[in-house]
Symmetry: C2
Subunit: 124 residues, 2 copies
């Protein structure tokens, strides 16, 4: 690993920042799942109307494009947060809902919402 005995080549060895520097940082890991411009908004929307259909989500998040919404939903599905149920109907019907893992995010999201309600009323 770090094999510099004299100090003219040392870079980050004088303190243990491993949980931040390396990839074991829970914040970094969490941000991989719920980070980005849309994911928390999508989850919030699905939380408040579960299951949610694609078209409903798109209406709720007025400014998202179809392409982006699809991409974000796929990532959330890939990460085990959402499930996607396709109905064999015409026109197509697809329902998104939180998986059990996704449900564990509900208190996290509620905490964020609560902060916004209390401290972010109109100061921006």
């Amino acid at each position: 690993m770090k094999n510099n005995t004299n100090a003219d080549e040392q870079e980050f060895t004088n303190q243990d920042f491993s949980d931040i520097v390396e990839n074991n940082c829970p914040m970094t890991n969490t941000l991989k799942v719920i980070g980005g411009k849309w994911k928390l908004l999508i989850l919030h929307a699905i939380m408040s109307e579960c299951p949610a259909r694609f078209g409903e989500l798109k209406k709720k998040m007025k400014d998202i494009t179809q392409t982006t919404l699809t991409a974000q939903l796929r990532e959330l599905e890939r990460d085990g947060i959402l499930s996607r149920k396709i109905y064999a109907e015409t026109p197509p019907k697809v329902e998104y809902k939180l998986t059990p893992l996704g449900e564990t995010l509900v208190p996290v999201i509620n905490t964020i919402i609560a902060w916004g309600n209390t401290y972010c009323k109109s100061n921006l």
Copy 2:
């Protein structure tokens, strides 16, 4: 609220999504403050060593550039989350710490960290 008797002109009137569509959404507001790739990591770092100097933050977040770190810190300062204290020394010394408003984010961040610790161990 819902005043569409015949269904051929309705667009967003069949349910009240105003808190998501308009800018009063606490999630949207919160994301303006703590959203983005770096802000939560910066706050986490300052939380765990408060006050924190610029150089310390940069070392902890190995992959951020000076320019980006400065920009993010300025936004957090602008939004009232951080304070910046300049010491009239050479070489310069600047300390960042959470404001009282910033302190109110501590439980939010801890909630996110806790979720990461519990549910995000190694599945990504």
